[in-house]
Each structure stands twice: as C-alpha cells, then as structure tokens.
Symmetry: C2
C-alpha cells in the first residue's frame, strides 16, 4: 500500500484545480498548462482520465453534473469532496514539511563515474556546467518577464528554489572537474591506471578496501 491511495502527482494537480472550483477534466488540463504547472510537476496528460477515475473511486472527488454543450461530447464536471480537501492539504503539507528521498539521475551517474575514463568524465562535467549556466540564463529572462507583467513573487518561489539548486550544482561540478583534471581528488591516480589497463586489454582488478580483519 503506497503512502497515498492515488499517488500520481497529476492527482495532486487535479485536486488543486478542484479545490478552487468544479471543472471537467479537459479544463483542468488547460488550466494546469496555462499556469505552467508542468514545469514543476510531472504531469502526464495521457493519464488524466484514469487518475480522475481513480480519485473518484476513492471518494476524493465526485461528479457534479454532465453538461452537453452543443453537439460536443458530454463532459463530466467534478467537484472536490471534503475527504479530497483533507487529502489535498495533507499531501501538500507532506511535500513541504518532509524531505523525500529522491534519486536525481546525476547522482546515479556520479556514483558510477568510475566507469568512464577520467578525461572523458572531465569533458562531460564541463559540458554539464555550460548547459547549467545557460539554463540559469533562460530562467533569469523568464523571471524578468514575469516581474514585468506583474506576477507576485509568491508564484515564483519554485523557480527561485530551482535556481538555487542549479547554482549549487554548478559550484559542485566546476570543483569536481577541476579536482579530477589536476589529480587532486583522492583516488584519481588509481582510476586512471584502471582505465589504462583496460584500454591495453589487460585484466582489471577492482578496488578492494584494505581488509579490516
């Protein structure tokens, strides 16, 4: 049993729409898009209808009416239930109040970085740093624009957060690339040796901790 009855983040976004007012699914999807929620939440609109159905099954939302507009297909308008409202604030509180264990792909890469030759690793890290810097620039432009058209800071906190994370990552990446390049990172000599052996077609002996026993 996963922590939540419906755990797809799209469900959270659905609840957030319905917390505001009743809507039909397609309107939710346009609303989310409009507000740029897909930038911060992984929203797969292909799952929208199954998620809505699942929310209904669990009593967090309920159909309010089905309207027939012209000769278009029927649309079912949903509203949030009080159980849904509880779930919504509880979920939000968890997201904000409790750091979750996450698995950024870069961390996965770092933990296996030894699988690449050190010089390649340095080159790739430099490339990453460059891409991160241009992300930062793009973000700054957007922010300037948002300010200009009068969006309150309150609605930009997530962009702020992201910026901070990216800046920290750049700092880390720069430092790591440099310390591999100049050999000051403890273990690089060993790493280099392994890959030279491998390139020369020799057997490679994996690193073993000096036995404690």
């Amino acid at each position: 049993m996963p922590r939540r009855k419906v755990s797809n983040p799209l469900a959270l976004a659905v609840l957030s729409c319905l917390a505001e007012r009743p809507m039909h699914p397609y309107e939710m999807s346009t609303t989310m898009r409009e507000r740029g929620k897909h930038e911060s939440i992984k929203l797969n609109y292909g799952s929208l209808y199954s998620v809505v159905e699942s929310l209904q099954k669990h009593g967090l939302i309920a159909p309010r009416e089905t309207v027939k507009d012209g000769r278009r297909p029927e649309r079912t308008v949903y509203e949030i239930t009080s159980a849904g409202r509880l779930e919504y604030v509880d979920w939000l509180a968890e997201l904000i109040g409790t750091p979750a264990k996450e698995y950024p792909t870069f961390e996965a890469g770092l933990s296996l970085i030894g699988g690449l030759p050190p010089d390649d690793a340095v080159r790739l890290l430099q490339q990453r740093a460059a891409l991160l810097r241009s992300q930062l620039q793009g973000g700054a432009e957007l922010e300037r624009y948002a300010k200009e058209i009068g969006v309150p800071q309150l609605f930009l906190v997530e962009a702020d957060y992201r910026r901070g994370q990216i800046e920290a990552e750049i700092g880390f990446v720069d430092k790591l690339a440099a310390s591999i390049a100049d050999g000051s990172l403890d273990g690089v000599d060993y790493w280099r040796q392994i890959h030279e052996q491998y390139a020369a077609g020799e057997e490679v002996t994996p690193f073993r901790l000096p036995s404690q026993k």
Copy 2:
C-alpha cells in the same frame, strides 16, 4: 520509444556490475547492496529478473553458463556484450554530461504552496529545515567513518553532491520561511486574505493577472 531500450535505472546498475565481470543476478543484487548503490540509484530488486531478461532480449547482456551448485536451484551467469558496453558508457555519459529535467516533490509542493494557510506553510518550512539539518549531520558522520576506513574520495563524490544540494536547500527554505513570516515576500498579504476569506466560509476569487488588452 523511450530514449533507451531498457530505461529502468536498475538496468544501469546491472550493466555496471557486468562491466566488471560476469555474474548471476542474485550476486549482482548483493554486490550493489554492498556498495551502497541503492543510496544513489533507485534500485527495486523486485524488478531484477525482468530487467535482466529485458537486457538480454535487447542484446546488451548474454547468458554465459548456468551453474548447478549443490542442490541449489540453477543460476544463470550473464556477461556483458559489446553492444552492452557501448550502451553503458553512452548512458553514463548522458547522465553526467546532460542535465535532465527532474521533478523533485518539494518543487511540486512549492508551486502549490498557496493552497496552505501562510502560517502553516511557515511552520512546515521550519520543520523541513530542521530535518534537512539532521540529514546533513548524518551524512557528515558517515563521511567521517568512510574516511577512517580508507575509502578514496573518488567513491564519495555523490555524497558530496548531495550535501551541496541539501545545503543550498536549507538556505532557500530558511529565507523563504522568514520572508513569509515577516510579510516581505510580495503577495503574502493577498495570500493571507484569501485564506481568511476561506476560513470565514466566503467565496474565494482566484488571482488574475491585470489584463493586458
């Protein structure tokens, strides 16, 4: 078609084991555990056999022999193919060299933080900061221990990265909590007002940008 034929991160870990030497699936799982890869990579060992099968189907690994050891069930030992080796370094290079768009749950929470009353938000942010600080402490202890038993820095870069990210997050969270609490964040007055209305049972009017037209 997803970017990779087999996209489960467990597959990457399998490749990394087999890049070193042939193994049978269960040995891979113990090896990964031993090396603490599950800290940095999302490894669901329940998917191990399906992932291995899928890798084989796509020609990235191949069975080398099935050994019968005593009266235990047969174990199939796999080895990496040259296509697999290519896939492995290509995947690694991508993880390191190209920032991926990710969706940390905290960012999702931030983008909807308006759904909580401001005072609750402040309390939750403070709680988060406290938890992050204790994570930091736990990490520092581990690091000290690793150093003591002689693990080269090279094998700890991912922990280093994580530390940097957490520190940056703490900075952000502290600042945000303070700026909500003292009202200096642009939009907080409006936010507070909405939730007072809501608490009083009144209709709530959602924020609209001043129309440009």
